[in-house]
């Protein structure tokens, strides 16, 4: 039976009686997915083993993130199966990588795909194929469950993001971004609208997001905090270091009333998993490409095990690596890459909360970090004793190079303390709840679209049979951009190979 009432005085009284203190046991954990050394071997021109075998294959995809997997997805769908995908790490996924423990799968980085009113055609196509979009209806299990977001501000949790007390300023902000939406210049994928941008919108790329806010009389600390948070969250750069065009793209490319994002316990890892199942025969993991050399009309792609002689290459790894790997070298990629730190915390119990419930995305106002998402949020259980939180931090201030030094300078226990101290502001008993903190340091997580970046030239194709496909070609680190660039590169490669 069932009548019950919302929080009553009795609950509060019991809350006090139930307050128990527990001494925190030693917290375990490690640095995870460390590939710094592998990357630096290339930078430092280390010697690599000459491959013992040679294999001819019409097409090689370098990089198994969303871009590389999407290229492979499109090739496979077009009936073209004569290609290999080479991934340096032991697992594919790139920024959509994921992990798992005895409680739940969890993300290591990218953790959602927004659901747009109608959505980009390719995203729809993929999600229909994966069975979560049927007749225009999204599968409820995949949409982020309530409550979706909350923010810890003025000492308490408040449902929803962002804090909205300065109504006039928010209305002004929404009116301005609404006007920009009408221009048709801000689209996802960005390329279409970007080509059509007029002089007024292009001018936005010459100022920072912060300058744009000031120029438009948006002085409210809340609006400025939120704009800065969005830039740090999307681009790993503060609003002062983000192009206003890029900062505004986030708001002007989406309808304000979009249905909440596609979320699974392993973040976007579930898409990786499903694509991997489809494409398994093509995927070679743990194969680091250390050199790509042009020979005649084709390319020699070197790994320590095999040299692949290919007619065409889809370069889906971060584009800046092209300058180190490809001969002849493409022009240098003009943007900096932001370092990131992410962590998965295993919780043996939930922190005490009086009158509030954890949301999927939990943000601490005025924190230097970005908050955490709850991996078990989509669970259908009423009672979930243990959980995993994925905590995010982007190094958004100062030069990326200096910040990278800071990132790599901190060892596991340094960053563990940093993380727990951040969370302690909102959850004083967090140390008594956490049993493991696994930490991932990403030196080059995503390009920073600083002022001028959106309309600066990036190496798109300096040789007719090599195609850059990473999302950084769009300069926007989004799932949709990675997919779009991957599919576009696949289409171009098929045309080149006469299979279109």
């Amino acid at each position: 039976m069932a009548r019950d009432h919302p929080l009553t005085r009795r609950d509060l009284t019991f809350g006090i009686v139930g307050l128990a203190s527990k001494s925190p046991d030693a917290i375990q954990g490690a640095l995870a997915n460390e590939s710094v050394d592998m990357g630096h071997r290339i930078r430092d021109h280390a010697r690599f083993q000459t491959p013992a075998e040679t294999r001819r294959v019409p097409l090689v995809i370098v990089g198994g993130g969303i871009a590389g997997l999407s290229a492979a997805w499109r090739l496979d769908k077009r009936g073209f199966r004569d290609f290999v995908l080479l991934e340096m790490e032991s697992e594919v996924g790139g920024n959509a990588r994921w992990g798992r423990n005895e409680i739940t799968p969890y993300p290591w980085a990218a953790h959602y795909v927004p659901v747009l009113g109608k959505g980009p055609a390719l995203v729809r196509e993929l999600f229909e194929e994966l069975g979560i979009l049927k007749n225009g209806q999204w599968d409820e299990h995949y949409l982020c469950h309530s409550p979706q977001e909350r923010i810890f501000i003025h000492g308490r949790w408040q449902e929803g993001l962002p804090p909205q007390t300065d109504h006039q300023q928010w209305e002004r902000f929404e009116a301005l971004t609404g006007e920009l939406r009408q221009t048709g210049c801000f689209t996802i994928p960005m390329e279409q609208g970007w080509r059509k941008c007029g002089a007024r919108e292009r001018a936005l790329d010459r100022m920072s997001m912060e300058e744009w806010l000031a120029a438009n009389g948006l002085h409210s600390p809340e609006v400025r905090w939120y704009a800065n948070y969005a830039c740090r969250d999307d681009y790993g750069a503060s609003s002062a270091a983000t192009s206003a065009w890029a900062g505004l793209h986030y708001f002007a490319s989406r309808e304000p009333d979009d249905k909440g994002p596609i979320v699974q316990p392993q973040g976007n890892g579930w898409i990786v998993q499903r694509l991997e199942e489809k494409l398994r025969p093509h995927i070679h993991r743990g194969r680091m490409v250390y050199r790509i050399v042009k020979r005649g009309a084709g390319w020699q792609v070197f790994t320590e095990q095999t040299r692949f002689d290919a007619q065409a290459v889809i370069f889906a790894a971060p584009t800046f690596l092209g300058a180190w790997l490809i001969d002849p070298a493409p022009p240098k990629y003009p943007l900096e890459y932001s370092p990131w730190l992410t962590a998965n915390l295993t919780l043996e119990r939930w922190p005490e909360e009086q009158d509030t419930e954890p949301a999927w995305d939990n943000v601490i106002y005025d924190s230097k970090s970005l908050g955490y998402v709850v991996a078990t949020h989509q669970s259908l259980k009423v009672h979930q004793r243990r959980t995993v939180w994925t905590w995010y931090h982007s190094f958004s201030e100062g030069s990326a190079r200096d910040q990278r030094r800071l990132l790599l300078g901190g060892d596991w226990s340094y960053w563990k303390e940093f993380i727990l101290r951040d969370l302690e502001r909102a959850h004083p008993d967090i140390r008594a709840c956490v049993s493991r903190v696994d930490i991932m340091r990403l030196g080059h997580a995503m390009p920073r679209p600083g002022p001028g970046a959106m309309f600066a030239a990036v190496p798109s194709s300096h040789a007719p049979s090599l195609f850059f496909a990473n999302s950084d070609v769009s300069r926007l680190p989004l799932f949709e951009e990675a997919q779009y660039r991957g599919v576009a590169a696949a289409a171009a490669a098929l045309r080149l190979l006469g299979r279109a």
Partner: protein, 498 residues
Amino acid sequence: MAAVLFISVFLIAACGLIYELIAGTLASYLLGDSVLQFSTIIGAYLFAMGIGSWLTRFIHRGLVSRFITIELMVGLVGGFSSSILFLAFTYVQGFRILLYGLVILIGILVGLEIPLLMRILKERFAFGELVSNVLTFDYLGALGASLLFPLLLVPRLGLVRSALLFGIVNAGVALWSTFLFKPHLPNPAWQRGACAVVLALLCGGMAGAGRITDTADAALYSDEVILSLSTPYQRIVVTRWKDDFRLFLNQHLQFSSKDEYRYHEALVHPGLASLPGARRVLVLGGGDGLAVREILKYPAVESVTLVDLDPEMTRQFASHPLLAGLNQGSLRSSKVKIINADAFPWLEASAELFDFAVVDFPDPNNYSLGKLYSTAFYRLLLRHLSDHGLAAVQSTSPMFARQSYWCINETLKQAGFQTRPYHVYVPSFGEWGFVLGSRHGWEMPARLPPGLKFLEARYLHSMFEFPPDMGPVAVEPNRLNDQTLVRYYDREWREIIR
């Protein structure tokens, strides 16, 4: 002699500060906003002490016996202050008035103490020495109390016992004073008697405090507690007052044995009596076995699958003699299969079909429970019903939570059910609502099983009529990604409680 006197000052000062800290702590625990609570309590308390000091000018004679009386009053009021406040918070309106009233009363009494004591002592010491010593010990007492309180008293004794302990100290100082100042007392025996009474009261409180601090139940449930268990999922409490048993889960009343038959007959029979062919029945929630008791009144039913999260709940209601008596041993029937699992994942993993399903979950007062009232859940439920199967869903009160009730109805519809909403009056809850859901519609049964206490076939139709103040309202269905129900429910009950 001097040392003994100044130890009294030390103790009095410590007691005074402890009562102030207890009031501040309790107020911040119970009302929140600790800065506000501590500031206003300290302010009120100090101000009241000022009043007390000022009042001493009106005391001219019998200083020692007045002092003893005041000590006893401080001991009594201060000692019981936290018990009174804890109980009052649960039962009394106007908690703040009582809180500040008590703080001011204690403050006045404490404010009287030191000036009176100084006047008593002024003949024994030089003025300068007296002021210096009294104030020194006064401040030392304050230091001692402020360190003891957070480090030892609150963690070890709790608020209720700490207050009582210091009440005993006050009364002890009073008793001691009757010996110290014996020559000044006209009738020390009488004073000692009063001290003994106050000490006895406080010690009694100390012994009884166990009930308040250890279980908190005794303070909050006025009736005898016959079962009290903390499981990983909830706190289960059963109380008895004469022949009325009440079950509380996390302090929320689940049933009263006086009228639960109304609820359970209404939950089960309109649906199940209309399905003469029903063989297999599912009960989700309802670990008390009361719905199962009603289901077992149909001999044609071959199996009842009961899914309840908490094994302790079903174990108690299967084996505890008093509780199993309430459900007539239904959980021990060979037809009943008990599964302790979370309902949503269990149903997802199950391939079974049922002819009749009773859905009896706690009210949707949070998002975790709200999932069990979502379109996704009801779609899953529909897939587990046989073609002519029915589901009866407990749906909160159409009277007190009207939007919530109609939201559940709307959610069932969105999930593909044809619905028949109905309601019943259960005295301990008020008007309560249910929804019957089916694939092809439902026909009112012409007969009900014999031996029911409340339902009669000829009156069934009246349950399906809604007066205007409970009638349908426009609502959005409850989806996993947009739990409207939890928001409706929260708003509606908030309004009732206010």
